[in-house]
Amino acid sequence: MITVFLDMQADAVKGLGRLRISAFLSLVTSLLALPLSGLFGRPESTTENPLTLFVALMWVLVFGLAILALGIASWVFKVLGWWSMCRSGMRKFYCATRYAVLLGPIVGVALLLVGGVALLLEMLGSGALVDGGLSGEPVGSALPYVLPGLIVMVVANVIEGVSALDVGLLTEVKALTLGAAVYLIASLLQPFQLLASAFSSTALLGDAASWWSWASNAASLLASLLLAVGFHWARDRVIQSEAQREAAGTA
């Protein structure tokens, strides 16, 4: 019985450690991507100012691959982290979380890519690419893929956020609880940011696009920071409680 208990603790420590790394990598990714969102947040300023466009392109060339690699690494650690948390047997919900964080981004990105291809084909067909967009955005063919893709990704993030919130409450680490809450808010803002940037200009979201973008990025940064710190403290808390339990057992 003691052996089983120790295995559970070991898995939890391992899982929290991986989640901590994941959150840290996510923080670095967000920081590297921050100038891009700042530069591309206002499309008109980018197109009007060649220097801004040049800086943005150089940034993508230099850090684009790093951002992609760090993002993927963060996701891998996240999947492994929740996998360990599931194995620890603390919550059955964590097992659902591991599948959500594994499959959510895969399905979501696949749908977004299909939507992107559909959009590209529609724009090529209408000649909008050559003319720089004639007028209304040809988004009709992309919407059936983009919207479900976004929803799948956000639902996966919500499940992950709720799990992180639960870990924060269980371990009584306020930074983690707060980080999970901010992460949930960031996840809820995410679809609006993407929708605003994809379908903006003439519609309701047009003027709010840059605001959504800024708010979502700020929330993501803050969440990553708090989660990285929170998972670190939660891990320490589990190790400490294990040490106390061992000390009590010895005594």
Binding site: G127, S135, V158, L165, L184, P191, F192, F199
Partner: protein
Amino acid sequence: MKLSEKQLVLLSVALSAAVIAVAVAALALRQLAPLPAAGTGYVALIRIDGAIAYQTSQLSLLGSTASADDLVQLLDTALNDPLAKAVVLRVNSPGGSAAASEALYLKVKELAASKPVVAYIEEYGTSGAYMAVLPAARILASNSSIVGSVGVYTSVITYSGLLEKLGVKVYVFKSGELKDVGSSFREPSEEDRKVLQSIVDGVFELFKKRVLAHRKVADEGEVFSGRPFIAGEAVKLGLIDGIGTLDDAVNLAREMAGLPKDTPVREMKPPSPGLLQLLFGGAAAKDRFVPSVEVLAMWPPPG
């Protein structure tokens, strides 16, 4: 405060449902959003450059070509775009094949029925190109432009003499006497001449009817002689409405559409050819090219 497994599931479901509901509501609101105000439209500018043809090759007997397919597609885009409040056709073409000019004419007619269309003849607006812009509400031309050349011609080039000198013999097997009408391997017979002339006359009659349907021509004999006119003469004969600049044409289009004077002009261009099309475009164009017996063009071609 600690959450039970059930509470975790409920919280996740509630938040996910909220996201889906808000996303769907935002999209619904977007679709219900009012259309842009009239002042936010633009004037579409479409160029009709070079000989009008279905072939896509950049080189032809009459110089560069304006692909009828591309132009029809652009006109369709302007037709279906609610923000394109008016259209200006910038013409610099000596004409082209009858079929391609016909396709353009019909599309311009459809466009002119739904929004103001102003044609501006820059250098040449003759024959098939002139026919194509006939349905425009107004036709303006630059002072030194060439307009008219209302007519049809066809030409048959024969190589029989040359082939004979080279010792080359051509044997033709045909189902009917006129099956190889217009053949380059023999001199045209009297019957061939009659057939070709009747084709030319038939197309010309159609052209003539269209000119008379859209314009009040002052001197039919002069106009339908097939000769081209400079802009001043064309105004007097009723072939065009006035002389001016491209800016005048754009301003007229704005005025006709009830648009403010600062309404932007957006040039609509056909898609640029890709690398493969540039490399193998000639071969592809050959496959698609169907020789047209009758030609609506000014002869000799400009340039």
